[in-house]
């Protein structure tokens, strides 16, 4: 064989090996976490291992649309994951446990299902005893009907209730507020000389006095980021995904036996006084924390802190009551 032929063959073989080997080598050395819409698989991998005290370096990429990344119950800004781009994120964990990470962009109808877990091993420096959520200690049945039999004619005004409430027999404790629905408090004012409208205004003021503007602002932000896609910006259950959710619900119900209510898939309307005035903050806490079984309402317990859930419930009541600006 001539020398030129030999050198050419060597060049070709080396070139082909490089063209195949180099991409495979670098690809294998770059473990990426792929984000896809939930219907196409969600996060891959969706379980990540980490250790307490060791920084966790992660590389994310999106295979379809813009997604976002955040870890539940952690004080962190969500980070956007762009299609075809790689986003580096470093996380530090102080406590062992199973953390939930989730998509923070409304990427598709099943956006809410786009979740994964980070299993953090190691020893705890400050073990905190687990607390039982209020709705559990109150033994509330989250799925029982809770409609208020009586509702006000208009939106109760907290400012009008302020002057009335001072001499009223309302337990001012936070526990009382959280464990009673507006309707129950309204009922407790039955033996006062107030008219129905005044009683509702007093309830509105009571609700306002049990929250702070900071809590409401925080709740508003959480609501806009996480709830408005389905429940609508104005709480009317008409978010951008609402119609599709109803359709998806109807489609899935048609394939199931039994007589489940198709409307279960429609997001709850927070502007409906019958439904909302019959619900206590603890009941709402339970619904947010656990999620609505089989309704498409996800469980938020692993994502929101307890305070964030109370902030959200406080904000949700603002669709019923006119608070002072």
């Amino acid at each position: 064989m001539k020398r030129a032929e030999l050198i050419s063959r060597i060049l070709i073989v080396v070139g082909i090996l490089l063209a195949v080997g180099a991409p495979l080598f670098f690809w294998a050395r770059t473990p990426l976490i792929h984000a896809r819409m939930a219907e196409d698989g969600g996060w891959n991998p969706d379980v990540i291992q980490a250790e307490v005290g060791k920084p966790l370096h992660l590389k994310f990429t999106s295979d379809d649309v813009v997604h976002g990344f955040a870890v539940g119950q952690m004080d962190m800004q969500s980070v956007d994951i762009l299609p075809g781009k790689v986003t580096d994120i470093t996380l530090n964990f102080d406590e062992p446990g199973i953390y939930t990470f989730f998509c923070t962009r409304w990427c598709g109808l099943n956006h809410w299902r786009m979740r994964g877990t980070i299993e953090v091993s190691g020893s705890s420096s400050d073990p905190e005893p687990a607390t039982v959520p209020l709705y559990v200690s109150l033994k509330l049945d989250l799925d029982a009907p809770h409609d208020a039999p009586v509702v006000p004619n208009g939106k109760p005004l907290a400012i009008s209730g302020q002057s009335l409430e001072t001499n009223l027999p309302i337990d001012q404790s936070a526990e009382y507020y959280r464990s009673h629905s507006p309707y129950e408090v309204f009922e407790s004012l039955q033996n006062t000389p107030l008219t129905d409208g005044q009683r509702w205004n007093a309830v509105a003021y009571f609700w306002q006095s049990n929250t702070t503007s900071e809590s409401l602002a925080n709740g508003r932000q959480l609501y806009a980021q996480n709830c408005a896609a389905c429940h609508g910006e104005n709480g009317a259950g008409n978010g951008v995904f609402a119609d599709d959710l109803v359709q998806a619900g109807e489609a899935s119900m048609q394939s199931m036996s039994g007589a489940m209510n198709m409307m279960m898939q429609a997001p709850v309307d927070f502007t409906d006084p019958r439904r909302m005035l019959g619900a206590s903050p603890a009941l709402l806490q339970g619904k947010i924390l656990r999620g609505g079984m089989g309704t498409g309402m996800p469980m938020w317990g692993s994502i929101f802190t307890e305070q964030q859930i109370w902030d959200l419930t406080a904000y949700i009541y603002s669709f019923q009551f006119e608070y002072e600006k």
Partner: protein, 443 residues
Amino acid sequence: MAKIELTRIPFIKNALKSRYPQLAVFIVMLIGYIFAILAGLIGTPVGSHNFSIVFVWIAWWAILILVAVPFFGRGWCAVCPIPLPGEWLQHGAVLSPPDKRPKWLNLRVPKMFRNIWLQNISYLLLALFSSVLLTTPNITGIVLAAMLFAAIGLSTVFERRAFCRYLCPVGGFIGLYSQTAPIELRIKDKQVCVTCEGKPCYNGSSAGYGCPWDVFPGGLTKNTYCGLCMECIRTCPHDNIAVNLRPFSADLAKPSTRMDEAFKAFIMLGSAIVYAGVLLGPWGMFKDAAYNVGSSAWFIYAIVFLAIIFVVLPGLFTLGILNTKNTLPLKQRFASLSTALIPLGLMFWVAFSLSFVLTNASYILAALSDPLGLGWNLFGTANAAWLPMLTSILAPAQTLALVVGLVWSARTAQKSANEAGTSSMPVVIYCFVATSLMLWLLL
């Protein structure tokens, strides 16, 4: 304009005669091609950031349709890496003179397949799936790999470059449109070929291989099937092969009478029109149908696509030329007069391609720096923003391309009508209506 023989220039002649420059280009192209396959298979599934999509369907396509085909004819075929591994296996060498023993089966392609119908079919197969193929990296990777393996397989069974000549989905239209290019490979003196013993340009010799494209250079009158591989320049013992610069569309003065080539012209014209409407038009319904491969809407799209290409366009053309006074049989007249659609179709494709190439060219910068979507930034351009280029000149450039195409096709129609002894008017009207439709779809 007279022809200018480029091979008179010693530098060009030596560069073409030597195997080394070509081999160097081949190796680079092959590495790039294999890298594109790998990128398609393991890189990001986001098409706009994957090397395979960006470099094949934006960069390569732009070079092919805007530069290579109009100016160099089959210039792309001269450097295409797809047939190389098969050919090297077939030859048992990459550089050395041919071994006398055939390495593999070395069969002749059956006569029924020695036309471009298989290329028409392979092109249409890709065309019907193009919306998915052009946007999905792993499908692009699979198709690129399939073409490479098909070429290798055919090289081991058949003689010469059977894949390029009879199956390559792009080779068919490159050949058709290469007739318009101002470059040709031809013999210098016919008499030399007539008296040449052994015809080494076709049969091979110790200096090189017989024409890989199964063409006898002595009989070349059109660019259509000459792959510009330059092998005959190396094998001709009489230095009788020349590469010439010539006027545009010189080959179209001799209209073809082959139906496979005539239909190729309709296929290309029709698919440019359909793509302009479906991919660039404002009708979301059509776009959805084209993208949802396998759905009933897609089947309707496929049927309509094929009907436009095989029934509507040729049907209207036939109706137009039906009453032209002529002694030629209709079939022959149809094939001959459809020559006018060659420059028209080419310029339709130029106009169509301008829009998506200029719109998406900025992806090339990002894909160059991060070809696999692994977060690299090799040249500092990984985060280059998507920015449509030259938007202000797009519409004028497209209009110009279409008008040039219309004038060019009208002149071609006149020539082929004269050749066939008939009126060119129906064909000119046909071209005018098609151009108006394309103009409306694009602007």
